[in-house]
Symmetry: C7
Subunit: 292 residues, 7 copies
């Protein structure tokens, strides 16, 4: 500590300014402009290809839809998917071409350093999305327009992508679901649906008579309602306690019409039972944990 | 910064246009066509093999089903499985052949870079699916048509695959369940099923008499109902409080008929108790958290 | 772009047809037949060994069961286990022998590429199954026929395997549980079981008298019911509020008979209390969240 | 142990003081000052660049917003995002430049020691955030100002970033959500929304008449309320028990106005039913598990 | 395809039979017998060592228990543990010796192929078991006979092992808990336990008088009941609403006697309050979600 | 076994004592003292630096707070953070310097053995803490004194650290939350807050009149209460059933005053409705699942 | 198969017995004794060091506690911790010294085989425990004797260790919590605590008068109860419905006395309200989900 610190400071400042001057500013600027131009050209090319590609795909599907053997839903699914796939491929090809100017992308993708490890961990979600999405499409689990349940989401399929599935909720909300979140696909648009009505009557009412009345209504309904596939039949007394006894009716309806048929049956059975003077259950509330 | 920047720009543009001209466009186009042809041939071959293979498998099973010793469910299971397996193998073989033109697939599969790590993480779900599916089939845990419970899904098995199992819900919904989601397989179609009826009567009613009446009905039912395997017997008073006492009856029925037998017993016991003037439980509602 | 593209196409087609012709179809066919024959021989051998082995194991256990010192449950457990183990070993040995013709199995098992990583991730479930199963067997936590609770499944053990445990539910359902899902094994078939009865009486009833009556019944029951191990004793008033007071009785019964003893005690105590004119609790419902 | 320990102590102290004197304090101080200056310059540069960059970005968006074809929400989204991205890039570039003086950052990023492993594990959350955020933006799942539900959070999007999304709750709370927490994006601002009203009336009231009245009100409302898109229609009797029957009405409203339309309809239907002397449901409370 | 395929088949068959004949069956048989003998000797040795070792350990603990300074529970814990440990070490040493004949066990344990990776993943549960078990023992968290709660299991510790802990439930069930499942050990057998009684009286009853009566009973109880450690004292009015007010009493009892003391206090306080004509709470049921 | 075992024993003992004597006890002691001294010096230095550093930081912030443009909360946040950061850096630098004497810390940090793997797994929590904490600070999600919700914890921020955040609960409890546990930060101190009051009246009361009265009160309140930002307006009838109809009022208040405004409005509206003789809802309890 | 198998057997037996005889039994025995002696010496040394070390630490803390500036809780914390740390270090040093005789411990710790991988996976829990424990201590989140909540456990801290924290529940149970299970530390012994009382009165009672009475009592209580820090003030009407209105009172009490103050206030307010003839809420039960 014999020397004065002022000299140290001067030395350090000199050292720093020398380093600053030593940079070849011309080369830097020239490089910046060259790279900028390349990026510009790539971006313009990207938009041209994107626009042209989408045009071609859409016009192809316009013709494809005229084919009467092709369902509209299937065509929508395919068109959306191909557009989605084309968009991603284009985006990543150009993104890598542009990034190439700044970092050695290939080296990172092949490497095993911290960065690549972190990327591998972070990107596994993306890979899972694509793998799951791929099989959902390959196995045709979903079509655009299907009524489905995915995890906690209900609604109609709006769009199928490699990475995300878009579902339009019955209340109008649009859900974006990463495919990896899709565990069990429950598709309500594949085949006829069950009709199930539970009718509760007073515990001391005449069960036989009630069942007869219900059966007559089911018979009549079968003949008049073309949405019914299998005639609803009375299964019997499902449960019974001090306040009511429950009679269960089960049948089959055309896909998508099951709720309408149920409401119809419920209303008609109710009116018939009231006419026949079969008592309602004893008027104590069924205490429910209300939902929503 | 002595030089003018205009020159820098001109240099950069020159550099870029030179690079653009230097590309051998002939070679590029020739390569594109050659690859395109190869892919076309592969795709045609794929569809021929797929069609022919399915045909052969199906016609084989047509003969196989004539064999009286073979249950239809088992034949369905095997046919679906073999078709599914054949489809996947064909698909992946041709997919790799086609991809081979673009990327060095073998290198990636053998490599250890970021991409392969990410793929390994992402694909472990797929491997889990196949491993689990394989053992479900090997241990014959499921047959097409079985009534089952898998996790939260109830229904009939519609199709068994290496990767997914399709279950038709009782309400008509079709569930696609990746095999790895299947933890515990609960198969309701393997052997006779229990019949269990709980009858509630007034807390001060004559228990002995009620039990006698119920036993007579069980006896009679056993003789007339061929779906009953073991005669239902009265276990005794299961619980008892200020509003009712519960008598439990247990027996065994032919697989699939247990609910019908329960409804039958419930209705007959109820009528007999009302005739014998044994009181219903005190008419206060049992407050339930209603489900659905 | 000076050359005409037609020539490019012709070149490509030529290139492709040359490659097609260059394949040695004879060698391919000969190889296919040779491999086919080998697989056939292996499959036949597999079935012979499987049949013979099972036969030998079963006949051995037939003799083994005649030994009076051996419990039937233990013999069932061992027989099922050995058959299961023999089946898996045979299956995998032959599977690897057959696969050997198509892929270099040893290389994959020893390698560290993506495929093997994915397999390792996917197969860890299988290894966990076997490790857990191995210790369940080694520590004799379960025997065939035991009444158990595994996670959410109740029932009797039907079969014990290295990979899965089969449990027959009390309602007849057959559960297949991969061993790795088995966290805590709760075995209800190991030693005497507790008998616990809670009797509710009116809040203003004479507690001392009620306890006396209950103690007399316990005394009597102990003498007549040979399923009781330890005489049930009255612990005292467990809880008490504005509508009832609860008296708790605890004893021990022979394994499997505890529920019968409880039902018996409940019925007798109830009758005695009604005779002695000790009031039931005030008749307000206990609101329960009903289960099932 | 023949030597005295005092000598050991003296030796050790000497050894230690020698080491202390041997340090070249001049070099240390000079180095400290030089590094300090460099850091100072970097920090000043950082603030200049940050200020200038933000200024330029904001003034650009000022002009961009004048473009009538551009929605304000989209402009806000883009401006916030670009500012956010610019801020992060600047921060990390300068942070690495400064850290470079103390640790060999490149070595750590490329290395595979414990530190880098720990960093890779710890940083995977960060990478997941950025990957997820990137796709949310690319797929335009959210715009600033959208009404959304993310996991358990409801509100309006306040800001979209690469790492976090800021959501303003309806009650004024500001939520910061790391993008990786965003599983399913439920966007309530994309298209028309459903209007759903459930009207409960007495179980013995005249259903036909009630439905007629409700339909007249819906008709009138459709004509006067411009927020209604699709006329609300009566679906029928949704459910019915001993205390009430529920009539369901469904329609469509302009996005964001659905709750107002529902309140309006509810009030008018209620008044009309009271006027027409159609009874309210029997006055027993619906027992709910109150929320909040 | 000029050659006839028959020749191909003949060639293949020849090739196959040659391979079959080329095997040195003598060497195979000799090897099988030699290995069989070695395994036999090892198995016999294993059973001898197991029997002898257990004998020695048990006889040692017989003497050890005579030492009056040693608690029985501790001796049980140690004996069970050492037997368990000895059994596992013996088993694995001999298992590896026998397996050595079939596979190169050392190579697998040291290797890094798929098999070993899968084993490492699968076996981590086992290692976790042993590590956790080791610390539970080292820190003496449990002794055989302690009343404990582990996760969802209540009961008495029956056996402590390196891999599993056996707990006898109060209802007689025997739980086998892998040590890794043991998160928080809650030991109810370490020191005195709290006595807590909540007494509900009518909302308009004289609180001061009730507290006085309760305090007298606590005083008296303290003098007569030797299980009480700290005299129960009245904390005051814990809560109060339209139907009742709750008075809380807290004290300390000898470990294991707290429930008896609580029941005792409850009964005596109740009788005293009824005698003093202090009203019970208004007779409306407290609606509970009943458990079990 | 021809030799006597006594000789073996003697040999072994000799071997052991030789090894014991061969240790250079002088060197050991000298080393121990030298290391001890170094550690002592390091510890003293640590405490000096810690004390001096804290002093300097605190005095700096004393001056910084006099700056009127700086909010107190922000200054507290920064001061706490810098002290926290300084403390950790100092601690770890000295900890490594001291550990250096015992283990080769650098080797472990760079190594890839079991120890380092275990450390990497174990320490990832720490890294996650710091990474998350860093971004919470960088994005200014929290300030000391903010009212927040983190996961299940509510309260005021007491201290922000790189590893833990301290939150003072409204009931006085101090929560220490590792930053990695902080998923969604919900900050209640950023901007005005909503005021929401639900008023329930009798189902047959005059809705129009009630709304008029409420609107008058809102108007008056707006003029007198300076905490109100946006005048509360009546949205309309939110819901309606057999026992009540609910009118919803919504407005905005100054941050932190929203609950006071709500209580105020509730009280005044209630009084006005009672004066205007608008009936309360029918007096049946709303059954709630009580919390705490 | 020309040779007789007898010769094979004889050969095998000869081979085996030769191998058996070839073992140098002398060397084996000598080695066993030598190792045994070394272990014995190590074990004796371990117990001496453990005993002596504990003695020294305890006597040091005896003196340390006499220092009046040191709180007893802090001294307990430090003493327990140092004993715990000393015990573990000693244990592991000697354990490794002993194991060294059997396995090459260093090799395993440095290695990367299956065993070490499995150990690394299994041991990460241990490392997590120590890392978390270390920071809990460093940041002084807990002291022995503090009233705390850790996850689901409530109680007083009994002992703080590097690996486990012991908490004495209020009911006397002793919980052993591995430190890694400790997520959020909620310490109830750091500063004054809130006092919160909710008083419910009849919905039509005079609110103003009730608030006046409560305020008088709060005033009086503040003057007489020295445990109150901040005078409790009436916040206003918290909620109101058809059966009651709730008035909330909030203040601050000395740490640990908050529950006593609450009980006191509740009792006095209740009495005052009854005297002033302000009605209790309408006597309908609040239905709670009873806890324990």
């Amino acid at each position: 500590m014999e020397k004065d610190t002022t000299k140290d400071v001067t030395d350090s400042v000199n050292y720093f300014t020398k380093w600053f001057k030593s940079i070849d500013w011309d080369a830097v600027i020239s490089k910046v402009i060259s790279v900028g131009l390349e990026i510009l050209v790539l971006i313009i090319l990207y938009f041209i290809l994107k626009y042209a590609g989408s045009k071609i795909i859409k016009s192809f599907f316009k013709k494809y839809r005229r084919n009467p053997a092709v369902s509209n839903n299937r065509a929508d699914t395919l068109e959306g998917l191909i557009l989605n796939f084309y968009g991603y491929v284009l985006f990543f090809v150009f993104a890598i071409l542009i990034l190439q100017n700044f970092i050695n992308v290939t080296a990172i993708i092949a490497g095993a350093g911290v960065a690549s490890l972190a990327i591998a961990f972070g990107a596994q979600g993306l890979v899972s999305d694509v793998v799951t999405g791929f099989f959902i499409l390959l196995e045709r689990q979903l079509d655009v327009g299907d009524s489905i349940t995915l995890d906690t989401v209900n609604g109609y399929v709006e769009n199928l992508g490699l990475r995300t599935t878009q579902v339009r909720d019955f209340d109008g909300t649009l859900h974006f679901i990463p495919n990896r979140q899709i565990m069990i696909v429950s598709n309500h648009s594949r085949g006829n649906m069950r009709v199930l009505v539970d009718v509760a009557i007073s515990p001391k009412a005449d069960t036989e008579k009630a069942i007869q009345i219900i059966e007559q209504i089911c018979e009549a309904e079968k003949n008049t309602n073309k949405n019914i596939v299998e005639m609803p039949t009375v299964l019997g007394v499902e449960s019974s306690d001090g306040t009511n006894q429950v009679i269960r009716i089960v049948g089959t309806a055309v896909n998508g019409e099951q709720f309408g048929v149920q409401r119809d049956l419920l209303k008609k059975i109710r009116e018939a039972l009231l006419q026949a003077e079969i008592d309602l259950p004893i008027a104590t509330p069924i205490v429910k944990t209300a939902q929503a």
